[in-house]
Every structure is written in structure tokens, then in C-alpha cells.
Symmetry: C2
Subunit: 250 residues, 2 copies
Amino acid sequence: MLKKDDYKLSVIIAGAGSSERLCNKSVKSKQFLLLKDKPLLLYSVEKFLLLENLLEIIVITNDIDATRELIGKNKLDKNVEFKIVLGGKRRQDSVYNGFSNLNPLCDLVLIHDVGRPLFYIENVKQCIKKARETNAAILAIPTVDTLKKAKSDNDELVVDKTINREHIYSVQTPQVFSYDMLASVYNLCKNDMEQITFTDEASMVELFKKPVNLVIGDRRNIKITYPEDLCLAHAILNNELEIESERIPA
Amino acid sequence: MLKKDDYKLSVIIAGAGSSERLCNKSVKSKQFLLLKDKPLLLYSVEKFLLLENLLEIIVITNDIDATRELIGKNKLDKNVEFKIVLGGKRRQDSVYNGFSNLNPLCDLVLIHDVGRPLFYIENVKQCIKKARETNAAILAIPTVDTLKKAKSDNDELVVDKTINREHIYSVQTPQVFSYDMLASVYNLCKNDMEQITFTDEASMVELFKKPVNLVIGDRRNIKITYPEDLCLAHAILNNELEIESERIPA
């Protein structure tokens, strides 16, 4: 348990992925994609800057210069160090590049996908609190949809089987780990990293039978993958602005 | 394959479920819940009335009088018959009550949850088209989130295991079946209906190794289960109205 109140937090933003499925080839990667005229990356960065004990933000990118320019021209907190790090082949390689560049003073590591700009800082604070208690905590929401495994059959997409959705959660980011936990897990699987593909860092921790806590997130923290997700994100943001403006007396 | 162009379509709307998880105990069931001042039920009904060859709409309810009043006071198509049917113990029992009240002329049966008011009629038409070819077709979207099975451990919610998300789809409604397919499946499992709980009708069809086709739906066709889903639905609707008004020249 990480009891001391002056723990140091490092944030790694995985942002080197392409925006291919978003059909926007003019944008080099998802972090530069505009949502209400603001690049996705800035949504995450601005919210993380609200966190206490923040030591550094490491942004993984496939375009160092463009990310540096984006971060540079937006007035950001001077007390937090920004590192721009080149991504790897897969998402997990990118996050590992971030991990390799961590400040040795860091106690907690928060890992986040740039494709989720709409997380709520209160959920993140709960996740950090839990990770301080247990070493590993991730945001997740219970699955309400029926899930099915599909297969191709004579060029038709058909159901292979229905998955029992009881106790199934959709996992989001941020995910928060103690530095020690993450370091020991990377050390344990360093020889297998090439062979195994993880969709999130928690999977790596689970592989070594170490407990990962689930913290209930918010359904509006959607992952922007397909063009219609951008519409959805746009709608969520507009609604929030509307609620905000309703709160301000005329 | 259902080739004839004058096929008859019956719609069953499962709407007897409570709105408990929505924390709204003043509303008897989800179908009466207001989204932008309109009860959820009317969103679905109004869109289904746009479908060709529509024979009837069967609404399952836990309050016959209230549903009758709601349907009655909104001017609805006179050429389509409305039936209001009392729900059963579980969702599947409710749908079966609807099935038992089908007009014998019907060729295709569309089953829909009232908690999904935001489906797109174009997706539904594709689903009907596919069901006419193959007897069973359902709307689904590929899962983009990492999925985990959770367990309780000393009052903590922790990850049990990560589920391989490859080829996993989140299933929506509407789901469309040929009447003959649905009738034969109900007939096959009539003795086991008490024992087995299905989260959707497609699962029943799958149980008898009959193919169910997946038709890609839209991510905005969300299921309203938790209070934040209402915010999300509100946001999606507002965004559509905005897009609509942008289309109208000033």
C-alpha cells in the first residue's frame, strides 16, 4: 500500500496509434484528430493537469515534432514535465517506451489511451486512490449488451456462440499501477513481450496472478474508434456544455 | 428464403421491464420514461411505422391501461393494428406472450427492446433484408473495449480473467426472424423454457444450431439501463436535431 500523501504520479498517454478506422488519413494519428476544434490529445492533457502530485506527462507519438508543437503552443503547467516519446510497433510497445522514460522518483503510473478524451477526473481520482491501496486499479463498466462470438460462414457473418455476460466488464482507461508492480511485471515478461500481445497493461499484471481492482467508470468515457464515435463524443460534449451553461445564472 | 415482396411483418416491442436501475421508481416501467419529453415507447413505435409491409405492432407492458392510453392519444397509423399484451416473469416470457398473440398472416417477426429508442431505420431495413434471405438476422457492433470477467475477493471487485475480444460483437435489437423459424424453435424448447434464461431470442435459435446472421448496426443505438445512459441518449438526440437544422437552409 502506498500510504504517503506526497506520492509522485507519472502519466503515460498512448497516442501513437493511427486513425485509420476513423477514415481520416489526412491526420497522422488519433491524438491530432479534432473534436470541437480541439485535438484529442489536449482533452486528456488538460484534465490530467488537474491531478495532485503530478510529476510528469509522457506522450507517446508517431510524430515527435507535431506533438511537441501541439504541447508547446498550448499554455500548459510549468511544474509538470512533458516528455514526448516515439511509439513502438504495437500499443504495448509504445507504453513500454513510455515506461522506460519514467522519472525514477515516480511511485504511481497512470496509463491512458488518447482515444478516450471524455473520462471524468473524479473517476480517475477514485482509480488512483484504489491503486494506492492495492497496486493496480482500472476503470471499467458492467456490460449491458448480450455478447456473441462471430465466425465467417460462406462469406456470411454468423453467430458462433453467445457469451455469458454475467460479471463481464468493459474495460476503459485510465489504468493505474504502482511503479513497483509495473516494473516487476515488465521484468517477469521481458523475454515474452515479442510473442504475446496485450490489449491493456492490466492483462500483463493478471498473467502473473496479481490482483487488479475494478473501479466503476462512466459509460460516457467512450473510445473513439469509428467515425460515428466522433459524433457520439461531439454529442456528449455539447450536452455537457449545455448543462454547464444552465448552471450559470443569466 | 422469403422471396415474396408482399411479406407481412409483425413487430414485438418488449417493454414490460422495470426502470429500477434508472432510479426512477415513479415511472412504472421503462417504456413510459421521458427522453426529451417523449416516452421511450413512442420513439420505437414512430420509427417502426415507417417500415414497409407492417402488419401489426405488439407492445408488451406491465400496465395495459397506461400503454393503451399512451398509444391511443398519439395519432398513429390506422392501417397497422396495435396489440397491448401483458408481460411475463422474465423478458423472454414477455416476448413469448407477444409471439402467442401474432397475427397468423405474419411472415417475419421483429423483436425489439423498448430501452433502445435510438436505432436507425436504415439498419433495421438491412436486418429485415438479411432475415428474409436467411431466416434470422440481428443488429450487432464489433466490441472495441477489452472485456474482463470479474469476481469478488474480500469485498473487492477484481479481475478474474481477460476475455479475448477477437470476433466478439455486442448485440443490439431489433432482431428479425422468419415466423417459421421462431415457431419451430419455440416448439423445440417449450419444455425447457422454465429452466433456461435467454438474454435475447437469437440465443434460442443458436441453441438449435440454426444460423443467425449479424448485421452491423450503429454504436449510437445504445441501451438505456443506467441514469447516465439517459444523458447519453439526450446528447445523441440533441446532436441529431442540430445536424437536421443545419441541413435546413435559413
